[in-house]
């Protein structure tokens, strides 16, 4: 068998695939964060909590309302997105005029409350969400056995990521959103309802987090802590990609998933810090991030 650096090619391809699956989650979550930061200037620490809420919403829908996986993919982000809108309307909007640190503190508090409530109601052991029947089983790629569901995660995530990128960077709506960030008062003078745009942006970003949560539910155990362990990594991904850069979030999300995957083979103990090491290097060499504008 062909080898690269003493590691068989089949193993490398397998790890590349798994890295892409994890990267797909990083990309979707960091995308939501980048949208919220890029368009609103809010550092959304509640992102992980809303991701967990997305999973729980899908789970509860399945258990009590008979909402299947495919309906859940639409309904759970919608429900959690509405909750996000409520948070923005009731709490977050009062903080836009003062330092961004207050937004960070508020969302951090929201995250603690959401996770605390989930823990109170569901405990910390978590629950299983079954893989939908259509995606059960695995395909043999020759170099590895890939569960169909994981392949679906990659496809779904990349589709969602690039649709969002297109929406924000290439459409009229996206242009209006970016204009609101550049100069809100001026845009408002032209008759555009800027506060409404902000609300919808936050709701949309939160819905993305919830969608990632639904996608993750069949892969890992649904627990209240599932978001808090992921959110710090995702913040590092956003910093590496460049705060607020949509494309940067997507590309660095996928890329870091792959790098982390290789670390798991070469030096497993370091796999949970490799992202932070890269973050430190990027901050030293290119403080604005790989895709950020100085």
């Amino acid at each position: 068998m062909t080898e690269i650096f003493g590691v068989p090619v089949a193993v490398i391809l397998g790890q590349l695939m798994l890295g892409l699956v994890n990267g797909a989650f990083y990309a979707m979550l960091s995308l939501g964060l980048a949208v919220i930061f890029g368009l609103m200037g809010v550092v959304n620490f509640a992102h992980g909590a809303f991701y967990a809420l997305g999973s729980f919403a899908a789970l509860l829908g399945l258990q009590f309302l008979g909402v299947n996986y495919w309906m859940g993919l639409v309904l759970a982000p919608l429900a959690v997105g509405l909750l996000g809108i409520a948070v923005e309307r009731l709490l977050l909007r009062h903080l836009y005029k003062i330092n961004a640190l207050y937004g960070l503190l508020l969302t951090f508090g929201v995250a603690l409350i959401v996770e605390g409530c989930l823990q109170e109601f569901f405990g910390s052991s978590g629950q299983s969400y079954p893989v939908p029947a259509q995606l059960a089983g695995a395909v043999n790629l020759g170099f590895m056995i890939l569960p169909k569901y994981r392949a679906w995660v990659i496809v779904a995530s990349i589709t969602v990521c690039f649709s969002t990128w297109f929406l924000i960077e290439r459409t009229r709506l996206g242009a209006t959103l970016r204009a609101a960030r550049e100069n809100g008062p001026l845009l408002q003078a032209f008759g555009v309802n800027v506060p409404l745009l902000m609300t919808l942006t936050y709701g949309g970003g939160i819905a993305l987090a919830a969608l990632a949560g639904v996608l993750a539910a069949p892969v890992i155990l649904v627990t209240p802590q599932m978001g808090s362990s992921l959110v710090t990594v995702v913040f590092a991904v956003v910093v590496i990609g460049g705060m607020g850069s949509i494309l940067g979030a997507i590309v660095s999300g996928l890329g870091l998933g792959v790098i982390e995957g290789f670390t798991k083979v070469i030096y497993p103990e370091a796999s949970n810090i490799v992202v932070y090491v890269i973050m430190a290097l990027v901050l030293i060499l290119r403080p604005a991030g790989l895709f950020g504008k100085d």
């Binding site: 790890q15 640190l101 695995a138 994981r150 892969v219 155990l221 627990t223 497993p268 103990e269 949970n272």
Partner: protein, 401 residues
């Protein structure tokens, strides 16, 4: 932004992160403490349920001992050894703590054992597994009550090797607990004629296990030794099934609690071998306790939650027998006691601090075999205390071989 605003922000952050506050106890009270993971991955294994068990024991004992009120302090160590140790020290210095119940996490309990030795306060470890607590890290005030890495390995690993699981690859949680569990299992595997092929050390709380699992599969071993616990155990087993790894490798749960089996479901967990210090459905006594507990917590108790009840009772009985809360006299009583309750039959605390009692090798039932809610285990083997915990190793200075 000016400094005062930043400071305000940081202060607010700290305020929200602080754990549950302890209620102040009166000077005359007999004070029991409970330091455990109340909010993290192990919170269901003992956590609030363990607290409830301790309260039940205090109430069943009558609420007083030696004419003094028994009070309980509780805090969350957040799986951080420094928090556990400093809270223990604070309670010892300021709250008149008489005994500490140590919850989950071996790292935290090893740190707290050092405080127990310095402050001369009994520490009864419930949830942590690391057997170094009664070996290299032993103290004259440590009692290890429910299970340890030695007894878990003697149960599950020996049973698996005897059933044909000769070659092992481990997924090991990368901290004190995981490495001790892997070492203990490796020894048992070799002693029974099996072979250890390799291991991968996985950071605690990893979000994805598939990469590590493929490495395990690539090793060609026929047993997948899961030297991890809590959410890590559940997620690694779930992924192993998803990737078809369980077709060629038999998973061995080196530490699994009934809460984990409940959250995974029997469809996923069926056939799994595991070792437990207690099970709610063993006999009438265990079922009677479980029924009372269920009424309060709406879940069956884990071995830790049952152990917390028994340990509190055993301590209070020792205080009563000693006629004082003086630590050395109570420890002497504890090491003389015979423990016969719903948790243990003929249990005793030996010189190195191990509470020697029966351990159970279990197999998880199939969905068809399970007749009622929480009917999850069938007994494969009952190991008596001596077999389960092995002889005194001599590594603990106060307990020569």
């Amino acid at each position: 932004m000016n400094i005062s605003k930043t400071a305000l922000g940081v202060a607010m952050l700290c305020a929200t992160m602080a754990g549950p506050q302890a209620v102040l106890a009166a000077d005359s009270d007999v004070v029991i403490g409970d330091i455990d993971d109340l909010s993290g991955t192990y919170a269901d294994v003992m956590g609030a349920g363990g607290q409830e068990s301790i309260k039940m024991a205090i109430a069943d004992f009558g609420g007083t001992v030696l004419g003094r009120k028994i009070s309980l302090l509780v805090t969350d160590h957040q799986n951080k050894p420094d928090i556990g140790a400093s809270k223990f020290r604070e309670w010892a210095d300021q709250n008149g703590l008489d005994m500490l119940i140590g919850g989950s996490n071996s790292g935290v309990n090893i740190a707290m054992a050092k405080v127990a030795a310095a402050k001369k306060i009994p520490l009864i470890v419930i949830g942590a597994a690391g057997s170094s607590l009664t070996n290299e890290d032993c103290t004259a005030y440590t009692v290890h009550y429910v299970y340890d890495t030695t007894s878990l390995a003697n149960g599950t690993a020996a049973t698996m090797v005897k059933n044909g699981g000769k070659t092992w690859f481990y997924l090991t949680a990368d901290y004190a607990f995981g490495t001790q569990l892997q070492n203990a299992a490796s020894k048992v595997v070799e002693a029974n004629g099996g072979k250890n092929i390799g291991a991968v050390r996985v950071p605690l709380g990893a979000s994805d296990f598939s990469s590590f699992l493929l490495q395990a599969q690539g090793s060609g071993a026929n047993v997948l030794g899961l030297a991890n616990a809590g959410g890590d155990f559940s997620n690694s087993l779930k992924s192993a099934i998803e990737f078809g790894i369980t077709k060629t490798m038999k998973p061995a749960a080196l530490l699994a609690f009934i809460n984990n089996i409940h959250s995974l479901g029997l469809e996923t967990a069926q056939g799994l071998y595991l070792t437990t210090g207690w099970y709610w459905d063993l006999n009438d006594k265990t079922r009677a306790f479980a029924k009372r507990y269920f009424a309060k917590m709406n879940a069956e108790p884990s071995m830790d939650q049952a152990g917390a009840y028994s340990a509190t009772m055993t301590y209070l009985n020792a205080v009563k027998a000693a006629g004082t809360t003086d630590s050395d006299k109570v420890m002497a009583e504890l090491k003389k006691a015979k423990i016969n309750d719903m948790f243990a039959t003929g249990g005793y605390i030996r010189a190195d601090g191990v509470m020697v009692h029966d351990m159970y090798v279990m197999q998880v039932k199939t969905p068809q075999e399970s007749k009622y809610p929480w009917d999850y285990y069938k007994v494969v083997k009952i190991m008596n205390g001596e077999e389960a915990f092995g002889p005194i190793t001599g590594l603990c200075a106060i307990a020569p071989k």
